[in-house]
């Protein structure tokens, strides 16, 4: 049966919507996120050596205190390779 071996078009619609809405609500496009990733990397590189390829920057959602709707949140996962020594 199609139901078991194939994703229904309804669940595809739901997944696509959830992704789009997270970015809409945050007013944050994938391009903006990439720009932010580059800027964050610049700042952090002053203090530590990080795994550039391993950086994950995503917009998620979290329950809000003010509204029944979820609030967007920024999640950054930045693997550290080495702390840089104190500057002279």
């Amino acid at each position: 049966m199609a139901l078991f071996n194939k994703k229904t078009s309804k669940s595809v619609a739901k997944d696509r919507l959830k992704f789009v809405l997270i970015h809409d609500r945050a007013n944050c496009s994938p391009e903006l996120l990439e720009q932010m990733r580059i800027d964050i990397l610049k700042v952090i590189s002053k203090y530590m050596e990080v795994d550039e390829m391993g950086i994950e920057l995503t917009i998620g959602a979290q329950k809000s205190d003010h509204s029944s709707r979820q609030m967007p949140t920024l999640h950054a996962n930045i693997p550290i390779k080495n702390m840089l020594g104190p500057k002279h």
Binding site: K10, A13, R16, L17, K18, D24, S67
Partner: protein, 263 residues
């Protein structure tokens, strides 16, 4: 206590005007004194959906510019004695009104009426801002499609930003057969995504097209399931708890009837 309710959606063509017409008519059937405002300046339609297009003399802009008194511009419904329409101007654009003027108009209408129902234009620009300016409550209409739901989400955010928090949701044009096959998001799916309270769901029903053809809102026909669904919404607006209709029921019933007729 009088209440101003704005019917909005973001995306065009999801059934805002039909919804406004049926909510207005339904509330008047339940004994409330109701006025409907067509806030879609330049693209008026609520008059034809109500079958009142031949009776328009003055419009919303005439009232705002002082060309006539408010009462002169209100058109009485063909059937309901306690239902009135304030039509939009067809030859002007939406910049002819300001949010403050709409607020003042709503305050004046609240003196006379139990409910003021505002049919909002599509989009999120000035026309939308005017339409919501005097509202106490928002109803968001969507269909179970990605584009309509996405725009509904935008509108919910904008309503909350304009202090119209906790709008309620109507899911329009639901096809029980497609939902069953997994090819259409269910009412529950849409509610889960938008995370606001549901106030009603309307099946995709050809009778609604027919009722628009004749200018006679479907809610006045209580033998039809979509007419019942609209009246249920009106009862929920009045604060009653009404169970939700099962749109697949009718199909199942006719199937059994067909089986019996054959057997």
């Amino acid at each position: 206590m009088s209440e101003v309710i704005v019917v909005t959606s973001g995306k065009g063509g999801v059934g805002k005007t039909t919804t406004s017409a049926n909510i207005g008519t339904g509330l008047s059937m339940l004994g409330k004194k109701v006025v409907m405002i067509d806030a879609d300046i330049g693209l008026r339609n609520l008059d034809v959906v109500m079958g009142l297009e031949n009776r328009i003399v003055y419009n919303l802009i005439d009232v705002i510019e002082g060309n006539c008194r408010l009462k002169q511009a209100l058109i009485k419904d063909k059937k309901q004695n306690n239902l009135f329409l304030l039509p939009a101007a067809q030859t002007r654009d939406k910049d002819a009104v300001t949010p403050q003027q709409m607020k003042d108009l709503c305050i004046a209408l609240k003196e006379e009426f139990d409910y003021v129902i505002i049919d909002c234009p599509a989009g999120i620009e000035q026309g939308f801002k005017n339409a919501i300016a005097g509202a106490d409550k928002g109803i968001v209409v969507t269909t179970p499609e990605v584009s309509a739901v996405r725009d509904a989400d935008r509108i919910i955010g904008l309503l909350e930003a304009h202090e119209l928090s906790n709008p309620t949701l109507i899911v329009n044009r639901v096809r029980a057969d497609m939902v069953k096959r997994g090819d259409m998001m269910s009412v529950e799916d849409v509610v889960e995504i938008l995370a606001i309270d549901l106030i009603g769901a309307i099946p995709d029903d050809e009778n609604i097209v027919i009722s628009t053809n004749t200018g006679d809102p479907i809610v006045s026909n209580q033998t039809i399931i979509s007419g019942k669904a609209y009246l249920n919404i009106c009862n929920r607006i009045l604060g009653e708890e009404v169970p939700y209709l099962d749109f697949s029921e009718k199909g199942l019933f006719s199937k059994i009837k067909n089986m019996m007729a054959r057997g």
